[in-house]
């Protein structure tokens, strides 16, 4: 979260609180501090089995050298913990100051990197306050990331159809794997107050579109495994290269390492940060041996897969490179 100095009077009030006196109005700089989990800010959903990687960063800019209390705290269902630099950076029970000293540039620094945390909500806060007294003062600047690890039983996606519903198994038994599919995992919705919230019980909604290129081109829609409808969009397409992957191989518990293990190294990874979330687009260019695929990770977790959208044509040119833009 960037701490933009927007209002001059607020800035002066801040300086007063921090005990700094300026005779002349200093140049208004921009200071920032942040805490991220899996490169995401604010709210981050981490599925079981996916590593939690928490990083802090501080750029004090014009406040550099100002004495301050540094805070790095975690609120959990097991109580409050603080990052204790006196003990090799362990997270220690209780709310205590992490460091007392002048502000300075802190490049991205990992304060937690673990897998297998119990399900629950973890609020990790990083911040500073200008009164170096070991107390969390009212003028503290805090950035917080809320990490939610849901109770979720990850399906077995190795040589089984466990990730699929009975209806989907029936499709595969009758028709085989789809020639092309789009799979998305959605974990949030807007509630009655138009506020974002996770699904009840932290469920994950699995939206799938299975495209079969048979006598006709059809699209079957599934919502959380339930068959919704099938739409015929036209005649079959010659030379549509069927994906060799199956939706049964994918679950929301997969991270980039799992995807690479399944699909191999991507042709490229395009990165984007949107609304405080990091998105990785793993592009798999089409080749003789496999059709195109795109895998989208949000804060390191699989949210979307699109596989099997390339044609096998004898004509040229054949620029199937998705990594140029």
């Amino acid at each position: 979260m960037k701490l933009k100095i927007i209002f001059h009077h607020a800035f002066l009030a801040l300086l007063f609180i921090m005990g700094i006196t300026f005779i002349n109005s200093p140049a208004l700089g921009e200071a920032s501090l942040s805490i991220t989990a899996n490169n995401g800010t604010n709210r981050v959903l981490v599925m079981p089995g996916i590593p939690v990687h928490v990083v802090i960063e501080l750029k004090p800019e014009s406040y550099s050298g100002v004495n301050a209390d540094w805070w790095l705290l975690a609120e959990t269902q097991m109580g409050t913990f603080h990052y204790d630099i006196k003990h090799d950076g362990n997270w220690t029970p209780g709310q205590s100051v992490t460091y007392r000293g002048p502000l300075g540039n802190l490049p991205p620094y990992t304060v937690l990197n673990t897998t297998g945390l119990p399900a629950g909500t973890y609020n990790l806060s990083f911040g500073v306050d200008g009164e170096m007294n070991g107390m969390l003062d009212s003028n503290a600047y805090l950035d917080t990331v809320e990490i939610t690890i849901p109770e979720y039983t990850c399906p077995d996606t190795t040589n089984t159809l466990d990730a699929l519903s009975e209806s989907q198994k029936a499709f595969i038994a009758s028709r085989g794997n789809p020639d092309m599919f789009i799979l998305g995992f959605i974990s949030e919705e807007l509630d009655e107050s138009n506020r974002a919230t996770y699904f009840e019980n932290n469920d994950v909604r699995r939206i799938e579109y299975w495209i079969y290129n048979r006598d006709q081109l059809t699209i079957a829609t599934f919502d959380s495994g339930h068959f919704i409808k099938e739409t015929t969009v036209g005649d079959s397409i010659d030379d549509l290269q069927a994906t060799q992957f199956s939706p049964s191989q994918l679950s929301t518990c997969m991270g980039q390492a799992d995807i690479v293990k399944l699909l191999g190294e991507p042709s490229c990874i395009q990165k984007e940060t949107l609304a405080g979330r990091s998105y990785d687009y793993l592009r798999y260019n089409p080749s003789v041996t496999q059709p195109a695929s795109t895998v989208v990770l949000e804060n390191g977790a699989l949210i979307t897969v699109l596989s099997g959208y390339s044609l096998d044509l004898d004509s040229s040119p054949a620029d199937g490179n998705m990594c140029t833009d």
Binding site: R175, T221, V233, A292, T304
Partner: protein, 294 residues
């Protein structure tokens, strides 16, 4: 050599579906705005600290900046999709219309579904059942008395009125006498199954019933007697030693696992047996030959 190209749709929006899905989550967050956790909320903030106030969770209305961020989000993600679409559009060899339009229509259909329904639990609750499947898709078979082969566990098989077989399959209890259903065999030949007739029933092992035995104790003294193995894993015995050491009778428990016979009394011990229902040798605490009484 074949060349591979990406399908094109009308506006290069082939990937719009995941764009939308991606955008949904992102948009939601963007509209929500930054949140401070309860820990931060406990900090009493000066009212004139606009910076902190902007992050106050009590503020429910998104700021113009956040709204713009949400709009930018959609645009940006859309551009990512178009990046792929740009590749598609660059393929001159793909004829316009036809294939491209088909895919485009399909993607548009999917996009509509997601765009219109997925952002509000009120307008689009999670379904609880499937609609009827297409005619060519055979309905999923569930475990029931009429489809025992679909049962995948002992409990579901039993609940459906079936028998759980040793090869982890479920079948009707009306099956004929076979190795898995010895109790259904009614002839003293066990109906060809690998069983042993005793007490008017076909049994899995051959030791049931009455036996005479002779042999020697570990110390070389001759020992003989009778044994009667019952189906409840109990047995009765008599012992006659040449030196009279353990003469007497009693009862105990037996267990047979494979060729390992365990006896709790009499010839107490654990040993191996070999033979059949007419005679067998027990090599345990001593060696003894068992034969059926005349």
């Amino acid at each position: 050599m074949s060349n591979f190209i990406i399908l094109k749709n009308q506006r290069g929006a082939l990937l719009l579906i995941f764009v939308v899905i991606t955008a949904l989550g992102g948009t939601i967050v963007a509209v929500l705005g930054p949140q401070l956790a309860p820990l931060a909320e406990r900090v009493q903030r000066p009212t004139n600290q606009a910076i902190l106030a902007a992050g106050d969770t009590s503020i429910t209305q998104p700021t113009n900046e956040e709204i713009q961020e949400a709009k930018d989000l959609v645009v940006t993600v859309g551009q990512l999709g178009l990046a792929t679409g740009g590749i598609i559009n660059s393929i001159a060899s793909v004829p316009s219309g036809g294939v491209k339009d088909l895919i485009g229509t399909g993607i548009a259909t999917m996009t509509d579904h997601v765009q219109s329904d997925m952002v509000s639990r009120g307008s689009n609750p999670v379904p609880t059942t499937s609609n009827p499947l297409p005619p060519d898709v055979q309905a999923p078979v569930t475990c029931s008395s009429s489809s025992l082969s679909s049962c995948t566990s002992r409990s579901s098989c039993s609940n459906a009125g079936g028998d759980w077989n040793s090869n982890n399959t479920c079948s009707s209890s009306l099956v004929a006498c076979d190795n898995d259903h010895l109790y259904l065999c009614v002839s003293n030949t066990c109906g060809g199954a690998d069983g042993y007739w005793y007490d008017n029933a076909c049994n899995e092992n051959y030791i049931l019933g009455a036996w005479n035995y002779t042999g020697v104790r570990p110390d070389g003294v001759e020992r003989g007697g009778t044994m009667n193995f019952s189906s409840g894993n109990t047995f009765s015995y008599t012992i006659f030693d040449a030196d009279g050491q353990s003469n007497g009778n009693g009862s105990g428990l037996w267990a047979l696992t494979g060729e390992t016979l365990s006896l709790s009394a009499g010839l107490a011990g654990i040993g191996t047996i070999s033979g059949d229902q007419t005679s067998f040798t027990y090599d345990g605490h001593g060696t003894f030959r068992f034969t059926r009484p005349k």
